[in-house]
Symmetry: C2
């Protein structure tokens, strides 16, 4: 049955690939409208999911991610409309050049093909992922967490109605209709060549399993062990505002700062103020010896703290002696996700952005900007932490590949 | 020992990444000069490889690939110089835009990191691969075929001299110094996170093994089952010249045409002429019933012929009724590598290039142009047949990834 789904996905992907940008936009608009029109059955299905989850003693955090409300359904529909509004990436010409023999070569964006999304108990991902795949012309096979299966199926029914309203086949967006765990194993094998790309979205266990077992390419998110480095020439007000925001705006997102590095020369006056800001906001601080000398209320940091992505209101703090030491710390302990410097010195900023080998490197801005929406992508399927194909926020454009179109006038190769 | 090599490769990659474009160019120029200066020891090592290969009764084709001459060494040095002459891809800004909140975001090309090249008995690949990696700022671990080990080590000694002349550490380009087959297995595991990308270059057995066993991303070349389609509105002279060249210029390259599709309306007058051209050049023709009705000397093609990448002077021929049937054949049997149409009709050409989902789609040109040099890349490490990261010819630019540099003035995320 899953193999049939794979074959159907290829047909759906071809239909999406060959459709016009206008048709893809019409489908997305109709999908958003259908989500709104289906609010009642979606909420009813979600109530069943919630009841089962409560009966299974699922954690409050997971219950919150699972729960839909009329306002959240409106948010899901609105997110699909935002994706409908971004430029269609397919057919866009990248470079174009002419060879000495007259061959005219262009590189043109095309869909990847069929994408399989494996996610956990977040029913909104059902719509987000489908919308980004439709925008980028990719067929998609969705496999949501069993806890949100009824909600996801109800959302999927709306999505299919939107596809059909635009004249696209329902095979463009398929969903696995059982909670059977073996299905994931089959998807990881690639369904006999039917899947071009796997995207896991969820906790570390899921991502690790997909990366370990997948027999097809994977775009995934692993650690976000991010740093904010306050350079000697930092503006103190910017340093305070950025540090507080980078750590505390939302502690559970992958762009949250986990370690603060601060130049010794700046730390004397500034670290106590930053520590007071963070402590007032409910953040625990774990410092090295020099940081604790300035802020004695800090807990002593251990080697383990430099290596920990807390995703909690905890910040590791280290006093360093200049740019080289800061970069050495970042390259030693960081995860190459998102790192920021606060400085008014342009040469130091340029050295930091050139030397720090992370997907996102910021100057005088919060690491919490690590997000496709904030980048202007109109939505994202996640942040890729690998180095191949796409790095950083993955939006519709990152879900494309390319082909070369070569126009000649009868050229043969000597 | 291999794990040490992995750690050293990371250090070498960092040195290359942080070097200036000028230093990378100086290294490449010095590498080419050192290859010329080392011609004698390289030829002596090659003579030992050849003697051992002859004693092992290695095939004449493999002996030819293995053999170096003064002219071939000059060719190897010249290829490195060509790569020195292409623009350095590192640090090149792709897109740059400003967000409503004033954040200035740019996407900047950076090296992938450490690349492992696994190749067979072609000593020239030692220099080609190293040069493309140096140009693109990547550290590289080379693992050549055991048959060319002595030649490769002699070339590697020259490459290291070139690196050192430019002040770069020898860890930028390392080579596995034993013929031990277990080394390949260790490389496939990624050497404990030290390898970012694996590139196998060689026969199907090698590529299949790497794709099956690799635990890190792979860029590889699989089949090149390419088509030339002669449309009803083809210029007959162009059709003849392109078909002959696409099949017979070199039959063993991955861009060679393996199946000719020709519209029935054009086939009557044209197919006998094309068949005569090919037959005179020593090509065997295998046709469907309609092709054989026009050229009775053709062997009858079987279903298997449509699925075969001959890499020999054999061409499968099928008469079709128009564009849709041609595209259906290509999508059913092709390998999405390189496909061409010959037509004077612009609308048909546009439909073909839009609908055929291959890495390279040509209009009125020979499929044998599927080559990084012909694309103007200054060299290539091969043609990628996957859909992720890079598709088609892989030159220095395709061996890069990117990071985002975000410049702010104190922005925090609401």
């Amino acid at each position: 049955m899953l193999l049939d789904m794979g074959r159907n996905a290829r047909a759906g992907a071809d239909a999406l690939r060959l459709a016009s940008a206008g048709t893809r936009t019409a489908a997305l608009t109709a999908m958003a409208a259908a989500i709104r029109a289906h609010a009642e059955p979606i909420l009813a299905a979600n109530a069943q999911d919630l009841a089962a989850a409560r009966a299974a003693n699922i954690s409050p955090a997971m219950l919150d991610r699972l729960a839909l409300t009329p306002a959240r359904i409106e948010g899901v529909a609105g997110a699909v409309e935002e994706i409908a509004a971004i430029p269609d990436p397919i057919g866009v010409e990248g470079e174009r050049w002419t060879r000495p023999n007259g061959l005219d070569i262009s590189r043109v964006a095309v869909p990847i093909g069929v994408i399989a999304m494996i996610y956990e108990a977040r029913p909104n991902v059902t719509a987000d992922a489908a919308a980004l795949c439709v925008r980028s012309g990719n067929g998609v096979i969705l496999r949501g967490g069993s806890e949100c299966l009824r909600s996801s199926l109800a959302i999927h029914a709306a999505l299919v109605q939107g596809l059909q309203a635009a004249g696209l086949p329902e095979t463009c967006v398929q969903i696995i209709r059982t909670a059977d765990r073996e299905a994931v194993g089959q998807i990881l094998t690639g369904l006999d060549g039917a899947i071009d790309l796997l995207i896991p979205r969820g906790g570390k266990t899921l991502v690790a399993r997909v990366n370990a077992e997948a027999r097809v390419p994977v775009l995934s998110h692993e650690d976000g062990l991010n740093h904010t480095y306050i350079h000697a020439a930092a503006d103190p007000d910017k340093a305070r505002a950025i540090t507080l925001n980078a750590k505390m705006r939302r502690v559970s997102v992958c762009g949250a700062t986990e370690t603060l590095l601060i130049d010794a020369i700046a730390a004397g006056p500034l670290l106590p103020l930053i520590a007071a800001d963070l402590t007032a906001a409910g953040c625990e601080l774990r410092g090295d010896g020099r940081a604790r000398a300035l802020v004695p209320t800090m807990v002593a940091a251990t080697e383990e703290d430099w290596r920990t992505e807390y995703l909690e209101p905890i910040l590791a703090v280290r006093v360093v002696d200049g740019l080289n030491e800061a970069i050495h710390h970042i390259e030693t302990y960081g995860s190459h996700h998102t790192d920021a410097i606060v400085t008014e010195d342009a040469a130091t900023a340029a050295a930091f952005t050139a030397r720090v080998d992370s997907a996102i490197v910021l100057v005088n801005a919060s690491t919490q900007f690590a997000d496709g929406g904030e980048f202007g992508f109109g939505g994202e399927i996640g942040i890729a932490t690998g180095r191949l194909h796409a790095r950083g926020p993955v939006g519709a454009q990152q879900l494309t590949t390319y082909k070369y179109v070569v126009r000649g006038t009868g050229q043969t190769r000597p």
